[in-house]
C-alpha cells in the first residue's frame, strides 16, 4: 500500500537561510511523487513532480527535491528562504501499478514559517 509521511508538522527558518522539508514514502510500485504548496486561503499549487526521470527535480520558486530510492525519501529543499515561502507544504504520492487511476495520497502537511 502507498503512504507518505511528512516528518515535521512545523518548520521555522529565518529569511535567507536554507529550507528542508522532509518526506518519506512507501509504495509497492515505482512511485510518482509530488510537492504541493498551499498559501493561506488559496488553492493548491504544484511545486514539482518526480515521475521516474531525473532523480533531482527542479520546481518553481527555487525549490527542488531529490528522489532517493534507497532511503525512500523525497525531501524538499530551497537554498534561501523568502518571506513569501511561508505556507503549508504537502508531500504527495501517486498510486501506480496496472490499475493506476491517478489517485493521490497526501501527507499531513508541513507548515513553513519564515522569520524576518
Amino acid at each position: 500500500a502507498q503512504s507518505v509521511t511528512q516528518l515535521d508538522s512545523h518548520v521555522s527558518v529565518s529569511e535567507g537561510t536554507p529550507v528542508l522539508l522532509r518526506c518519506n514514502y512507501s509504495s509497492s510500485y515505482s512511485p510518482s511523487l509530488f510537492w504541493y504548496v498551499q498559501h493561506p486561503n488559496k488553492g493548491l499549487q504544484l511545486l514539482l513532480k518526480y515521475t521516474s526521470a531525473a532523480t533531482l527535480v527542479k520546481g518553481i520558486n527555487g525549490f527542488e527535491a531529490e528522489f532517493k530510492k534507497s532511503e525512500t525519501s523525497f525531501h524538499l529543499t530551497k537554498p534561501s528562504a523568502h518571506m513569501s515561502d511561508a505556507a503549508e507544504y504537502f508531500c504527495v504520492v501517486g498510486l501506480g501499478g496496472s490499475s493506476n487511476t491517478g489517485k493521490l495520497i497526501f501527507g499531513q502537511g508541513t507548515t513553513l514559517q519564515v522569520k524576518p
Binding site: G43, L44, G94, T101, K103, L104, I105, G109
Partner: protein, 113 residues
C-alpha cells in the same frame, strides 16, 4: 473554462440539512476527483470519475455521501443529513490524458452548525 471552477465557495448549513457542491472541470478533462481537507490536515481522497462513471468510490466516508457526473463535465457532490464532522474544504480536481497533470479548484468551504 480556464480552470476548475467550484461553487459555492463557502456554504454554511444547519446540521441535518442536505447540501450540493458543484465542480466544473476544465473542458475536455476526462478524469475528475473529489477530495476533502479537514482543518489542519492533508487531503483525503473521496471519489474518482473517468467520464461519467466512478470506478473508485473508496474514499466516500458514509452512505450520506454521493456524487455524480454528467456529460463528462459537471460533477455534483451531495451530502445528506449533514453532521458537524462534515465541516471541511471540499476540493475538486481534473486532468486530461495520463494521470498527475492535476488542476485543482479553489474548493468549497463547508461549515455545518
Amino acid at each position: 473554462g480556464a480552470g476548475v471552477s467550484q461553487s459555492p465557495s463557502n456554504k454554511v448549513t444547519e446540521k441535518g440539512k442536505d447540501v450540493e457542491l458543484r465542480c466544473d472541470p476544465i473542458s475536455g478533462h476526462t478524469a475528475l476527483y473529489w477530495y476533502r481537507q479537514r482543518l489542519g490536515q492533508g487531503l483525503e481522497f473521496l471519489i474518482y470519475f473517468q467520464g461519467n462513471s466512478a470506478p473508485d468510490k473508496s474514499g466516500l466516508p458514509s452512505d450520506r455521501f454521493s456524487a455524480e457526473r454528467t456529460g463528462e463535465s459537471v460533477s455534483t457532490l451531495t451530502i445528506q443529513r449533514t453532521q458537524q464532522e462534515d465541516s471541511a474544504v471540499y476540493l475538486c480536481a481534473s486532468h486530461a490524458t495520463g494521470p498527475y497533470g492535476y488542476t485543482f479548484g479553489s474548493g468549497t468551504r463547508l461549515t455545518v452548525v
